[in-house]
């Protein structure tokens, strides 16, 4: 019997991975930033074609009075863990979706990890709005285009999006949407909102220049 159904993504790999097509040439990045427990991983999982994977990056700072034999252990190492998923957009373009913690120390690694990112989604839990202020400030500082998505937890609808925009002191040109990070269609809608926003920014710039 022929079994071509799983051909597109189902090439089995000994390690159980789902490999990319051999035609894949261009990796893209979108980052989902938000406080602990806001649903970043949930959002990545709901749209990813692979189970979210986890990895880490280390930031090493040399200690004082380094002895050459023990140079490595004399350094201070900070580790930032983040997870990611993947969406094959077409034969060549592969979108990687990163769930990144918004905490202060993480931003030291932003340039190293996320330079060249298309844009960011700031995921907000209205019960902890203050977690989002810092992320929004940093994204503005880095000049990274972003949108804000409110992940709807029970009770979060008590406030309107207008009130949330005010609480975040969010500029009117930054899109603000509701979502349910558990639902694929909803997360997909958030990504489309971001790329629509980028598209509008890009066409505006092309018109100017």
């Amino acid at each position: 019997m022929d079994s071509t159904i799983s051909e597109a993504h189902g090439r089995a790999d000994p390690a159980g991975r789902t490999p990319l097509r051999s035609t894949a040439t261009d990796g893209l990045k979108i980052v989902v930033v938000g406080g602990f427990g806001v649903g970043k991983t949930t959002m990545v999982r709901s749209v990813s074609e692979i189970r979210p994977l986890n990895t880490e990056e280390t930031m090493t700072q040399a200690g004082v009075g380094v002895d050459h034999n023990t140079a490595v252990t004399d350094k201070t190492t900070t580790t930032v863990a983040f997870d990611f998923g993947r969406i094959s957009l077409n034969e060549e373009m592969i979108l990687y979706l990163f769930g990144a913690p918004g905490q202060e120390r993480f931003w030291f690694l932003w340039d190293r990890l996320f330079a060249g990112t298309l844009g960011a989604v700031v995921l907000v839990d209205t019960r902890r709005i203050e977690d989002s202020w810092y992320a929004i400030d940093r994204l503005e500082h880095h000049g990274t285009p972003f949108i804000v998505a409110r992940n709807n937890f029970p009770g979060s609808e008590e406030h309107s999006l207008g009130e949330l925009r005010e609480a975040l002191t969010l500029s009117r040109d930054v899109p603000l949407v509701d979502c349910d990070a558990r639902v694929r269609e909803s997360s997909k809608r958030v990504l489309i909102t971001l790329v629509d926003h980028l598209y509008a920014l890009s066409t505006a710039r092309e018109t100017v220049s």
Binding site: P19, L53, T55, T73, L95, G116, L118, K188
Partner: protein, 120 residues
């Protein structure tokens, strides 16, 4: 917590061994999403991490996926991949998006991204 302080005392030793004590990749252009592709099979005597990279990259594999697969920090994987690039065992497919912040891809590129997302 997503951020934790210091790796266990064992880990720096392992990382030191894996990279031969180097802490920086010679290849500065490797991005998290640069796709790595094997150009040859592993050869006898090769370091085990290099062998694993060559096996994994029979299909294009992003640097970040390699890091996850090898359970090593991204910076260490970049060093290992640089070795293999230098020796011609792998090739790299670099992202076309501009690296600098505040630089946007052109509208035609973003249109393709939108089409891909709508087709999900």
């Amino acid at each position: 917590m997503m951020i934790r302080e210091a790796v266990d005392s064992e880990d720096p030793d392992r990382l030191y061994t894996v990279t031969g004590g180097r802490s920086r990749a010679d290849e500065p252009d490797l991005d998290l999403v640069t796709l790595i592709v094997s150009e040859t099979d592993p050869v006898p005597g090769m370091q085990s991490e290099h062998v694993r990279i060559l096996r994994t990259c029979r299909y294009p594999t992003a640097v970040v996926e390699l890091a996850s697969e090898l359970n090593l920090p991204v910076s260490v994987v970049k060093i290992l991949v640089s070795d293999l690039l230098g020796s011609g065992h792998v090739s790299a497919r670099h992202p076309s998006s501009p690296r600098a912040s505040a630089q946007l891809p052109d509208a035609a590129f973003l249109k393709k991204v939108l089409v891909g997302l709508h087709n999900l």
